[in-house]
């Protein structure tokens, strides 16, 4: 009994001290102080400021951001996001304050005598009735507030989820079929007149201020269509039809990304939405409906021949030529697009030649096999592809 008393009274403060000293930050401070450096607190302050800067640097928005909405639906989603953010921030701060109060109060309230009492086999475990009632009321209150907050979130997200599609339904003037492939997007502009239907890839042009209907399909695995600035996610499930509506109120370029893991190159499956004024959009549609431009010089003619006699023709379409395969992206107006390989690289001559000769080093696992061509044929092919505006 005696030994335990001694160990208890002397041991506890020592133990606390040791435990405190064990935390890395305090070790760091202690070491720096030992070297007579005045820096630690200022340095730590600087570090935390830098960390916070880094933390909030993602909040600027941009061309792929759900909190920088460019359309009515994304606007509603971002409102929901901010509601959740503010409520959760308040809850977080309150919880931390409550935790701090609990720690500080138990320290001050429990006198040293009480702590000694605990150690000497006579713990005072029973609470007074008033104390117990107060605690019960606190817990009940917290549970009630939590349930209310969760219900507010539930109702808010449910109603916003419904409103995303309900007021757009059957209003889209332009209907676009978007098909997910491993790992690119096929984009097909539908029309009641079959001769006006055309296909492109990885780029969707839409008129500003008009709702657009997107019909989503997949041919292989589940993908998910997500252009955060315009709307929420929608999954593309093989064998099922899904529909999503987009409306951009501000002209601009918005980046989208496959949002459901779909295999090796899921990360390199991007698309761009170009919101343009109506007349510009119509001009773009007319240009895309046209057949591919005929080769204008000898090199381009040779390039076309290379295209038609090499493995290219097995997968790609160039309208106006014999190439009519549909397993790869449509290349009729490939030079009018700004990227290649689903947003992986910008459309430049150098990137394009790298892609043709050895696409597997750029996007390992993609379904385009390497094409062995002699360098003159490659140059001619590049001339031809770059002419396909």
């Amino acid at each position: 009994m005696r030994t335990r008393d001694i160990a208890g009274s002397a041991g506890i403060p020592a133990c606390i001290e040791r435990r405190e000293a064990r935390t890395t930050v305090s070790v760091l401070i202690a070491r720096l102080q030992a070297r007579n450096l005045a820096l630690p607190t200022r340095g730590l302050r600087f570090l935390s400021a830098a960390f916070l800067c880094l933390f909030f640097s993602g909040c600027r928005g941009g061309i792929q951001s759900a909190i920088d909405p460019a359309g009515p639906q994304a606007g509603r989603i971002s409102k929901l996001w901010w509601l959740m953010f503010y409520v959760c921030s308040v809850v977080f701060v309150l919880v931390i304050i409550a935790a701090l109060i609990a720690v500080v109060r138990s320290r001050s309230k429990q006198s040293k005598a009480a702590r000694v009492e605990k150690i000497t086999d006579k713990p005072k475990l029973s609470l007074s009735k008033a104390e117990e009632q107060r605690m019960t009321r606190t817990v009940q209150g917290a549970v009630a507030v939590t349930v209310v907050i969760l219900f507010v979130f539930l109702i808010a997200s449910f109603s916003i989820g419904r409103s995303l599609s309900s007021d757009m339904e059957n209003k889209g003037l332009v209907t676009i079929e978007v098909t997910g492939h491993q790992w690119w997007w096929e984009v097909r502009y539908m029309d009641t007149n079959p001769s006006k239907i055309f296909t492109t890839a990885n780029e969707i042009h839409i008129p500003v201020g008009q709702p657009v209907t997107l019909k989503l399909h997949s041919t292989d695995v589940i993908h998910s269509f997500w252009v955060p600035n315009l709307n929420g996610k929608k999954d593309l499930i093989p064998g099922k039809d899904a529909t999503i509506w987009l409306q951009a109120d501000q002209a601009g370029v918005y980046r989208g990304q496959c949002a459901e893991y779909c295999g090796l190159q899921h990360a390199h499956m991007a698309l761009f939405v170009f919101a343009e004024p109506v007349d510009k959009f119509n001009a773009w549609m007319d240009a895309q409906r046209a057949e591919s431009v005929a080769p204008s010089n000898e090199s381009e003619q040779r390039g076309q021949q290379v295209f038609l006699t090499s493995p290219c023709i097995m997968c790609h379409t160039i309208q106006g030529t014999q190439a009519n395969a549909t397993t790869g992206p449509n290349l009729t107006h490939v030079a009018s697009r700004s990227t290649i390989a689903a947003g992986t690289l910008p459309f430049t001559r150098g990137h394009l030649s790298g892609w043709i000769v050895d696409s597997q080093s750029i996007k390992p696992g993609n379904h385009m096999p390497p094409i062995a061509l002699n360098s003159e044929d490659v140059q001619a092919l590049l001339d031809y592809l770059q002419s396909l505006k």
């Binding site: 023709i313 096999p369 094409i371």
Partner: protein, 210 residues
Amino acid sequence: MKKRFGNLSEETFPLRLSPFAFRFRRRARIIALSLWLVVVIFFVACEREKREFRQAPPSVRVNVIAQSDLQPGSVTPPPPTSNPDEENAVAVNEGKRLFDWYNCTGCHAHGGGAIGPPLMDEKWIYGSDPAQVFSTIVEGRPNGMPSFRQKIPDAQVWELVAYVRSMSGLLRKDVSPTRDDHMNAKKSEQRTEEKQPLSTGASKSSEQSK
């Protein structure tokens, strides 16, 4: 100490370890060894799913094709060629995908045949050997089979060869495809029982129709 550990003298352990440390070290070695064993066993079956990203470019060489069975002297059978893709489930599945993509299904359907001969039966007009199937695809055959020379890269042709042979159950069960991406029209290649190839040559009717 010496007695206890037999011939392990102090030369082996010059640091003069305590019995506990020694026992610990021996145990650690046993654990490390068994871990290695587990790792080795774990990776033994990896070849089955090995993926080749950087395939060989398409062929420019001219494949020699025999148009006639007649030859001087005694019959010399062609050397059997092995197709490494037939040991690889990934390659066979790629072949299955390409079979659709390159529109083989347009004539052969999903193996049952349509305007082209069926591929899931035991009859092989131009031979069932991988090399023979390869040259059927690359060279084409009379009465409709087009030549895919310089259209399909060699590596993909070998994948197609592996898949075509899996359709009549000629491949190992553990590398043959197990399911279709669309509705199943027939038993999966894995569940197809092996059909011993019969070399039939071109049928009389197709000879006459020439």
